[in-house]
């Protein structure tokens, strides 16, 4: 089920109403059933994959908690990694791996391409269950004995398909609390949902046609269009994913659950390091805690530290999809991060504006790799910048331009303050005026047949 669908607009109040009516001790059953309906609405057969992942990690978690034998514990951990990464590898990277193998194999030995559809959310719930097993292995959390509570942690519908990727020790206690709805949570949740939907359905979806038109045939456009498409895409993906995250956070908040913030004004970052503390925070912290630190983090020689950084950024790129373009995007960020650290003294002497400009131009240019379906397209896009500026030919409508400027102004003005916090402070007349404007904008300017959430592909 998509957040920006009528089904969800009926589903959420229904689940919320039932939740309020259900006795506290059985609310988890309702939420679990609702989560499976939410996921199964999209494709029921892939629900089985999530159930397998749930059962495997629940069992392994229990066995890890019961065993003190290091080699046995390692074996259980390896099994969990194999099951989760194997599933992810097959469904997400299987085709890509075979394609790359076929590139080096003689044609007569070419392997058949697996014909599988990427199950929505697999990268998110797999990382969530992996974090649980690793936390149990390192004895940071107690294993969950109750299958139902564990299944709810894996499948909790607000954050199931595109995050934020939550940790067990943060989400599970909140779910177990089965908090009764209170007005503070409900009003904050509704504000977040409203603002998130505006970001997705009005801002991201209105920017999408120009971006899609440009990337479909970049050679038909000039340098001005290339710049517009790059800027539009930077805002499209931000509005799309942060919009999704806000709806997720808002939906969970209705049930008294506080999910972690996934974005904190990334386009105000003055460094690449800061950008990654503000962009897709739940994924960056996941890689920090489960890849970077176990690799040694910065407690290593300069060479090893640089290697760790590049591994983390490269994997982070690859996490987004089975394509070299994502790896280049990730590694590009990694290289910039290393350069930034290398020349930190020099950078600290430059003005904030110059640093901000440098970081943001780099980020926008790296998005080109992220958006391009292949290296040839990325090359074609970059080659546009070698031309003299010309009159734009992209289909730019006024809604797209307003959306772009609106989001830029919000980013600049609100900073890291979240919409619900900022608006919640205002007097009632101001709050309701803002709701009126946003509801109108959401309904009257949403794009019919808008694109799917970009992060659904990951």
């Amino acid at each position: 089920m998509l957040f920006d669908s009528l089904e969800f607009l009926f589903f959420l109040p229904l689940v919320f109403g039932l939740y309020a009516l259900f006795p506290k001790r059985s609310r988890w059953m309702l939420l679990l059933a609702a989560s499976y309906v939410f996921y199964g609405f999209w494709r029921i057969d892939y629900l089985g994959l999530m159930l397998i992942s749930t059962l495997v990690d629940w069992q392994i978690g229990l066995r890890l908690s019961r065993s003190e034998n290091p080699s046995r514990r390692k074996m259980w951990l390896a099994l969990s990694l194999l099951a989760n990464l194997g599933m992810l590898g097959y469904f997400k990277y299987g085709r890509w791996i075979v394609e790359n193998l076929n590139f080096v194999l003689p044609p007569e030995n070419a392997l058949g391409l697996p014909d599988v559809l990427l199950p929505v959310g697999i990268s998110f719930y797999t990382f969530q269950t992996l974090s649980y097993t690793l936390d149990v292995y390192f004895k940071r959390v107690q294993a969950e004995k109750h299958l139902g509570w564990f299944a709810l942690y894996v499948g909790y519908f607000p954050q199931l398909v595109a995050g934020p990727i939550e940790r067990f020790d943060r989400l599970s206690p909140q779910l177990k609390e089965s908090k009764s709805p209170c007005w503070t949570d409900v009003s904050a949740g509704l504000r977040l949902i409203l603002f998130g939907l505006v970001l997705k359905s009005t801002v991201a979806d209105s920017l999408a046609p120009a971006v899609d038109a440009f990337y479909a045939k970049p050679n038909d456009f000039g340098s001005t269009d290339a710049a517009i498409a790059a800027l539009f895409y930077a805002f499209q993906i931000y509005a799309d994913f942060s919009g999704y995250s806000l709806v997720a956070i808002g939906s969970a908040r209705l049930f008294g659950v506080e999910l972690m913030n996934n974005f904190a004004a990334p386009y105000r970052a003055l460094s690449i390091a800061s950008f990654w503390q503000r962009w897709h925070i739940s994924l960056s912290t996941w890689f920090r805690d489960y890849v970077y630190l176990p690799l040694g983090g910065n407690r290593a020689s300069a060479i090893h530290w640089a290697r760790n950084i590049l591994i983390v950024f490269g994997l982070s790129g690859l996490w987004h999809g089975a394509n070299w373009t994502f790896s280049i995007w990730g590694l590009g960020h990694g290289l910039l991060y290393l350069l930034e650290r290398r020349f930190s003294n020099l950078l600290s002497k430059t003005s904030k504006f110059v640093r901000w400009l440098g970081v943001q131009v780099s980020v926008v240019l790296l998005w080109i790799w992220f958006r391009s379906p292949d290296a040839q397209t990325a090359y074609n896009v970059f080659s546009r910048f070698g031309q003299l500026p010309d009159i734009p030919r992209l289909p730019l409508d006024s809604v797209a331009l307003w959306a772009w400027f609106g989001l830029a102004a919000w980013e600049w003005g609100a900073g890291t303050q979240r919409f619900d916090e900022l608006v919640g402070k205002g007097p009632i007349w101001l709050r309701w005026s803002i709701y009126a404007v946003l509801i109108y904008v959401l309904i009257a300017f949403s794009r019919p047949g808008g694109a799917d959430f970009i992060y659904f592909r990951f």
Binding site: L2, D4, S5, L6, E7, L9, P181, C182, W183, V186, S201, W432, Y435, A436, I439, Y440, L442, I443, A444, S446, R447, P448, G449, G450
Partner: protein, 337 residues
Amino acid sequence: MISKVLLRMLLMSALLVALNFFYVRFGLPRDLKRYSPMVLRFDSVSAQAQLLYLGESSNWTTAPGDTDKRSISDMASAQLEHDQLIDFTEPATHASFYRRLLERIPEESDVHTVVVTMNLRSFGADWVHSRLEPQLERQMFLAEIKPSLWARLRLGFGSSVLDSPERQERIRNRLWALETLPPDMPYPSTRLWDRNLNERGWLDAARVRRQDSTELACHYVKSYGFSIDTATHPRIRDFDAIADLSRRRNWRLVFFILPENIRQAEALAGPELADLMRRNRDLIRDRYQNQGVEVVDRLEALPVSNFIDRDWTTEHYTLEGRKTAADALALQLRSKR
């Protein structure tokens, strides 16, 4: 908390009413232009028509070598002494849209005659659940659903309320599998007919399988291999409603059964398919003649050479084909009621 919720729900309801008013005044005209151009064009066409012709791409599609590019309706119109036949042509439309558009004609309109094309292929699952259907359906949203703000919300958020092209395809496949054909047909269902034809292949004079002809033969079976259940078929419901509306509005109603490439259907898929097409035609013709509707039946009027598309089933005619169809229609319109 309950009083707080109730108070806010009341406030929200008032807000939505006000927003709807604002939208109808300022947003709807812009959105109708953008998302419902078909409806606006129909309103404009029907406002200036006395004789109205409703059709799809068969009306105006021409062959590259045609010396006269006029549409069927224009050719027919030229043969009328006093009246002008004004057309509303929209590709892939069918009875459901014609019905809903005709219902928009105001009581005080000058329209007195309505010609509605009856495309036999439009009764098949391939057209009823066409991939183009959702986008046509979407054009009707803002014009039909009230309050308008709700219509706009459904337009923006309800993409999955409409059948997606993929779902349409799944329904088509299911209908072909379930389609029960008359017992004297070679196969009990369209799916089996299609599958067997595909396996057997279409053989030329030298008994060699021709893949292009096989695919076309299968397509003919899927396009015309159906029997019409008058109790449930959506097209019948819509044509019935058009007939009923015309009676109420005192319009002269002409159903125009368009020529189909029945000879090619017979050559590729066998005489049984042509026979089935004739039976379906007879059924709809008799049904509406019995209801007092004038029916111009030109199903078998054209030879294969009068069809433009040789590798697909369409109702696109060459100049000669359009002229033949237009002559028959003009003759009917010139006749006394």
